[in-house]
Symmetry: C2
Subunit: 275 residues, 2 copies
């Protein structure tokens, strides 16, 4: 099995490490220092910046940031023999899948749900996907052989596979990941002069705002790529916040308690009361 | 030194435990099972439900939930000789301080910033306040002797003291604690049917929503007691969320990246890049 991985950041290099001994890995990255390091580390057996290096592979994994996935596919496809399976690792799926499906019939989208705060090659590890969930998003047009090859990829990395339609993926991720990030980011606009009172910041503030320190470029791309779901959830959120604002303003104690109890019950049920 | 503690929950009972050997503690709680347990555990030397039990004390600590603090003060004050110092442990200060100041000239408000998920007596521990911050909120009318006695109380429990005006306390806590709780609570309204996909919930979601499982009655009282600051921060937050909504909707990439970068920088600076 020959696999080409484009983008040797945290995700791409961790895939390469996880497949060590199972496949022959070609690593493609625009940064020569990264491919050199990956070669020295034995993480890849061949490396460089040219997409043409992917031409002899059975499977191509595009592990670049969301905003560059389609463009990367467009650059590599002219070098691939018909039949070469392509997957990606992007955190949004619908627009990516639709655009690559339109130019390559052997594409199946993936989203391994794994990450660390440090996004670079140096943070990569063979065990990153062990017991993680990887969502794959085949469509009606996807060929069974391609789906099986992508399943094999992630299973070999130690992940559990969940399959769903690309739009369903984006709708769920908007709730589970994109909105929490957006709401946490925006809360920083209230922070004002609290840096004068760092000693007062407790565990609640720390945990609630942790994801507000995430990478701005990555999240710009995710919010833009999943615009429709994110916008409609912002509207839902603002409507609910407006309602609770009114309940507080008019002093409706019982109604406020009822709302808070409903929220707390949803959270507790999700984790079966393990916080 | 004789101290009466009213409310033997997590905070009150932890104060009693921390002062073991330093003071003679009378415990007052409406639940007879709790005072009995505290007596058996040697956490208090005298206990019951009657506020009159506080009459011989030098210092009275009101450690009941925010919504009951003023009422509790009104009940205990008729039993106290003039000069008895009172403090409380509420998470909001301005309205509490104004209302008790008006009926008792020996009151100084406190807010020990310590807590655990389990709010009851059984979770109490002598070390709860060790190296925690305790905010005290004296006013211009506060007597030095009363301030010193309340400082002694918290220092003896192991806490570091920060003093500020009650309204300043409420303004800061609205940013640091009340808004994060409110925003996290409200985010649960978006959760929809994600309980079908528990396996997809990652660390970001878990941490962002952890405080949404907080006690509904306690938070109802806090939001109502700090209504003015909370309402004005909700307005600020909705304005900022409306702005970012518009930036996403109209596809202004660079502007979005600029906003996210500004938020991430505030968060990183607060923790000096330790997430």
């Amino acid at each position: 099995m020959k696999i080409a991985i484009i983008g040797l950041g945290l995700i791409g290099a961790s895939v390469a490490r996880a497949l060590n001994g199972l496949a022959e890995i070609t690593g493609i990255d625009r940064d020569p220092a990264t491919t050199r390091k990956a070669l020295e580390d034995g993480v890849i057996s061949c490396g460089g910046a040219d997409p043409a290096l992917a031409s002899g592979s059975d499977l191509v994994v595009i592990a670049v940031p969301v905003g560059g996935i389609v463009e990367t596919a467009e650059k590599v496809i002219p070098h691939l023999p018909h039949g070469t399976v392509i997957t990606d690792t992007g955190s949004t799926k619908d627009s990516i899948v639709r655009r690559i499906d339109a130019i390559w019939p052997y594409f199946v989208g993936s989203h391994p749900i794994a990450g660390k705060e440090n996004p670079g090659y140096d943070a990569s590890q063979a065990t990153l996907f062990r017991d993680a969930v990887c969502i794959i998003t085949p469509t009606e047009a996807s060929k069974d052989r391609c789906i099986e090859e992508v399943r094999w990829l992630w299973t070999s990395c130690g992940a559990h596979i969940t399959a769903m339609a690309p739009d369903r993926h984006d709708a769920l991720m908007a709730i589970i990941s994109h909105m929490p990030h957006l709401l946490s980011f925006v809360s920083m606009s209230l922070a004002g002069d609290i840096h004068f009172h760092r000693e007062l910041l407790g565990a609640g503030f720390r945990d609630f705002t942790r994801i507000a320190a995430s990478d701005p470029v990555m999240w710009r791309d995710i919010f833009m790529a999943n615009k429709d779901h994110v916008l409609s959830l912002i509207d839902e959120y603002m409507a609910e916040l407006g309602t609770i604002r009114d309940v507080i303003r008019t002093g409706r104690d019982q109604e406020l308690e009822g709302m808070l109890r409903r929220y707390a019950t949803i959270r507790r049920d999700l984790y079966e009361d393990k916080r």
